[in-house]
Symmetry: C2
Subunit: 316 residues, 2 copies
DNA sequence: TCATCTATCGATCAAATGATCGTATGCGGT
DNA sequence: ACCGCATACGATCATTTGATCGATAGATGA
């Protein structure tokens, strides 16, 4: 095995010249007295033996590692992880919004008519607000979640509204509360032609950008009075850890069947199995919920922050 | 300057994908939403800003760094640094010989007639002894240093002898002591037709492989009785720290003019200004001598070990 | 000793990379 | 507001890199 040692020596030399010295393989070949393919084999050996350690000296490097791990593990089309600003917690939210806006604008910028669907939540709102104005009247934007609160007031600043305002595109809002008061109300809503028309548009969307909700006392669903405290307790009792479009799910990503589920008016998740859903969510509290959504295989894309990403990779 | 931060962020991302992730630049370009040349600029920026740290996980890496530094600093054609075997001091000598033999055999292996000149010293001897046998009767080997001791005995195992034996090439030995007894003896020697003929051959050599001598109580010149103790003291008094081919020189690489110099019979160093001289020497004791030879600009190539190399770079 | 097998090596080609150039875009000054 | 400058961007080409294939040399066993 002494022969192998010599090979490794040469491999290390070649690796040094190539990576540190920036020498071309031709040059290395003549320096080492081997053929160029020989140098390639040496470099391959060096890589294989783990002789070469590359370190990117920038905070973003950790994010990239996390992003790559998550993308691999859950077969995502993409995963962006933005740095967590330890000093300014809102900084991370801003980063998240910018990163999300980047992904959205990629789609919106193009000239062909585009249909995009949006969920609700702070992250989605912040994301569309980060977008710059661009004239795209040919685009259509549709909301996947009802934007009417229990008291009947309509959220004037839904993401779809902002996006349509910024682009001049068409808007399609779901004229319903997130959770209907009764099963009958839900059925009645779903029979409205308007509701069905919007459903149809949503099905034609090329991508869906949605938030991820956590299920606890800080849950948006609860804080915004879409569900009552008793209903929250019921969800917690059924092991719900997060929600997508108002659909609560367990840690494994299965949608929880319960009294609330039967009254959720959002479009059923199964409907989007073949559509790319992109989640926009960050913060350590959202970690378990995002992980659940990933486990359920609902997502094709994810824009998150370092805190949530770290939680996710630690609980694969 | 916030703009610059964003650029650096992207540069770090691109660098991560390229170096750690092994993604192609085309892929990175589409992931980052820029053109491929844009990615190149980002990578160039990342390199320039020192974001990318490559570490070769092998003892040889340190040697390569030293070698590169020395080659750069003194404009050498090449510099090989072999690892110092902390456990076995003779191991390093063996490595040195193998590394030197590698350089020599590059030249010897070729079929065109070759003229090679050799100095004396343990390193040169060990080097030629490491060479494998190869039939090259068309080659010529010439010694640059007299191989006759003060007592008149001839060193039967001069490097030239060994090399000629191994290749079947012609041998040209300098029939003189390294240091003549008197200036007159030197003059007389130099007038011999044989001496002049050999000088002529030496001038036709394509490369010279020589040792480097230190000037102290362990000096080969002194140990082998080429100079007396009084002469050694004289050299030390004149700040000589090393010698090439018997020519003592100061730390700056200037040849010392003194009573000994006038009696040295080796071919004058100036004669080789346009010839590639390669020094073979290692060990911490040889450090100052090698550094002097480098400072004098006498060398075009160097094969040394980690100990000497470290001394050299620390005393640039 | 010969045959065969395997491992290694170098020629060739496709892909990826780096560099140069012309062009566009934005910014500051007049 | 317009002009000029500077900076940055993207198309194109040369170089470098990676991979595949056939060939050759050495090893191993019959």
């Amino acid at each position: 095995m002494d022969k192998f040692e010599v090979k490794l020596d040469q491999a290390a030399r070649a690796a040094w010249m190539s990576y540190v010295g920036g020498i071309t393989q031709d040059e290395i070949a003549s320096q080492l007295g081997v053929s160029r393919p020989g140098v390639q084999r040496l470099l391959a050996l060096a890589r294989q033996e783990g002789l070469i350690k590359v370190h990117i000296d920038h905070p973003i490097a950790a994010c990239m590692t996390l992003a790559s791990a998550i993308r691999e593990r859950f077969g995502l089309d993409y995963c962006d992880v933005v740095p967590a600003e330890a000093s300014a917690p809102e900084g991370a939210a801003y980063y998240l919004a910018v990163a999300g806006a980047e992904r959205v604008s990629r789609l919106v910028e193009r000239s062909d008519p585009l249909t995009l669907s949006l969920g609700t939540g702070r992250s989605v709102r912040a994301t569309v607000e980060s977008l710059s104005r661009i004239e795209r009247p040919q685009h259509r934007f549709v909301s996947l979640v009802g934007n009417v609160a229990r008291d009947g007031s309509s959220n004037r600043y839904d993401g779809v509204m902002v996006l349509a305002d910024k682009t001049g595109g068409q808007r399609f809002l779901l004229p319903s509360p997130v959770v209907a008061s009764t099963v009958e109300e839900k059925a009645s809503l779903q029979q409205q032609p308007l509701f069905q028309a919007i459903t149809q548009v949503a099905l034609e969307a090329e991508a869906a950008f949605i938030g991820v909700g956590q299920i606890d006392r800080q849950a948006t669903l609860f804080q915004d009075h879409f569900i009552s405290e008793a209903e929250l307790d019921e969800l917690l009792g059924r092991q719900a850890v997060g929600e997508l479009l108002g659909w609560p799910m367990t840690a494994d990503g299965d949608v929880v069947e319960c009294s609330i589920t039967r009254r959720v008016t959002s479009l059923p998740l199964e409907m989007f199995r073949d559509q790319p859903i992109v989640a926009l969510a960050g913060g350590v509290a959202k970690g378990p919920a995002i992980l659940a959504a990933l486990r359920g295989g609902w997502l094709k894309g994810l824009v998150t922050d370092q805190l949530a990403a770290r939680h996710i990779v630690e609980h694969f």
